[in-house]
């Protein structure tokens, strides 16, 4: 395992890599969700690059940048256990600083339009501009053959897939299934903010999505009925405060009256001060 920070060290180690490269972009504080992406990247590539960077430009002014959890030593231990010294595959961990990614005079932004105006984008202005900009930078700096993202962040996945096609990035975007606790809660670095009661209540996202999916599997295709079902379940949990529920086309993220083809059920819910998101794919 090589750990590098500067762009010049990254460039040197990137040039030394023979064969395919899989990139797993992360903000650190790794959990099983991240590790499943790393394992998938390892299975599909000769080399794996994991970036660890808490990207300031994707946090809004009122969001949790300063208290976002960080523990590099723990992250490196988790990653090195996946790449024991005997491994013939190479792992590079890139841990740039804010000054490396956004030096004095920085002024370039990558923006995806329509897809970023809805759902998370409508609640978090500027968030996706930060995401697409940093991901474009990571793609260019690491030159991967494949890049791995979790379905947990469904809109992020849709936006990045669009960006990669629109800007002709010569790589494949691979979307991996959401990893969950035994009771259904989607893994997230933000789960650590939940107190005991909130943690129990947080299964309501999974229960709400499951109820709507069950309706769908029984033949329901009315988007409004599916959204209503998700709301009903959320309203049954006193500690949960719904921000939105949604039933959209999978690619365009346009809200659906009638579900046809691949669709996305998604939601954002506050448990106390902690904002959680989750989603299911239909069809």
């Amino acid at each position: 395992m090589d750990v590098v920070s500067s762009l010049s060290d990254l460039k040197t180690v990137r040039l030394s890599l023979d064969g395919t490269v899989g990139l797993v972009p992360t903000m650190g504080y790794l959990h099983e969700g991240h590790l499943s992406l790393v394992s998938r990247a390892k299975a599909e590539n000769k080399n794996v690059i994991v970036s660890i960077f808490v990207n300031p430009t994707q946090f809004g002014a009122n969001e949790d940048l300063s208290k976002y959890p960080r523990d590099l030593e723990r992250d490196l231990n988790l990653l090195s256990s996946l790449f024991p010294p005997s491994s013939e595959q190479k792992l590079v961990v890139w841990t740039p600083s804010d000054e490396i990614m956004y030096p004095h005079g920085y002024q370039t932004w990558v923006e995806v339009e329509a897809l970023t105006k809805v759902l998370e984008g409508s609640m978090r202005p500027g968030h996706f501009r930060g995401v697409t900009t940093i991901v474009a930078k990571l793609f260019n700096a690491t030159q991967p053959d494949k890049a791995y993202f979790g379905q947990k962040d469904a809109q992020q996945v849709a936006v990045i897939r669009r960006m990669a096609v629109d800007l002709n990035f010569p790589l494949e975007v691979i979307v991996c299934p959401t990893q969950r606790e035994a009771d259904g809660l989607a893994l997230s670095s933000r789960n650590k903010y939940l107190n005991e009661a909130e943690r129990k209540a947080a299964t309501v996202l999974f229960r709400s999505l499951s109820a709507a999916k069950e309706l769908y599997e029984k033949g329901e295709r009315d988007g409004e009925n599916l959204r209503r079902k998700m709301k009903e379940v959320l309203e049954g949990e006193p500690l949960a405060q719904m921000q939105y529920v949604s039933c959209t086309d999978y690619d365009t993220l346009e809200e659906l009256d009638v579900v046809k083809g691949k669709a996305l059920l998604s939601m954002a819910v506050f448990l106390g001060k902690t904002r959680l998101i989750d989603n299911f794919i239909l069809g």
Copy 2:
């Protein structure tokens, strides 16, 4: 010489190239200025890719997109003469269509901020967003080691250099000197719009820049005095209508009170309906 249009053909031919690749992005209707970029790319790389694409997103609503000159057959003849069949170097010409570059649903833009708000950017809203977006796409699709641009478009060069650094593109931006007619007029595809009287008058840009440079070489460092000298010369030419003259820092394009280090004299001037730009570097 390989001529390809589709992205998949480009990808196939790009994968077949061994060794370094130099990219020369053009809008076609090639003149000696373009050919000097191609020659420089040929001297510095094993392979050369020339893109020919009149990029609609960098033209304003009132600009000359529909009448922009095009002559692909002539362009290909000029290029093939630089790469005779006996050449050991390979030339790829990429001629994508509007539909290939901006397919249905396209919605991603690359934007450089402060540098694009002044000079040409202030006169041509949206122009540089179109330029940076298409250049990012060309960089990604062709994966060059070096990319060649002419100093003639001084602000474009400053903006693209900034974008390449900010977005971590793994390539070198090479800036080549402006090519000129014997009487000093900078080569431009738009020169063909000039009638005989306008063509004669068009040397006024070169004369104006030369007069200011002469002052500079005599020791003048006051930015306003250099701008005044350029204006004076332009005002002596009845067929010329000045749009702006400028004396800025070379990198930041900030207008200078006092010239220190590398600076840029630049201007935009109408000859009849034809808008010409030109510039000199100081220091």
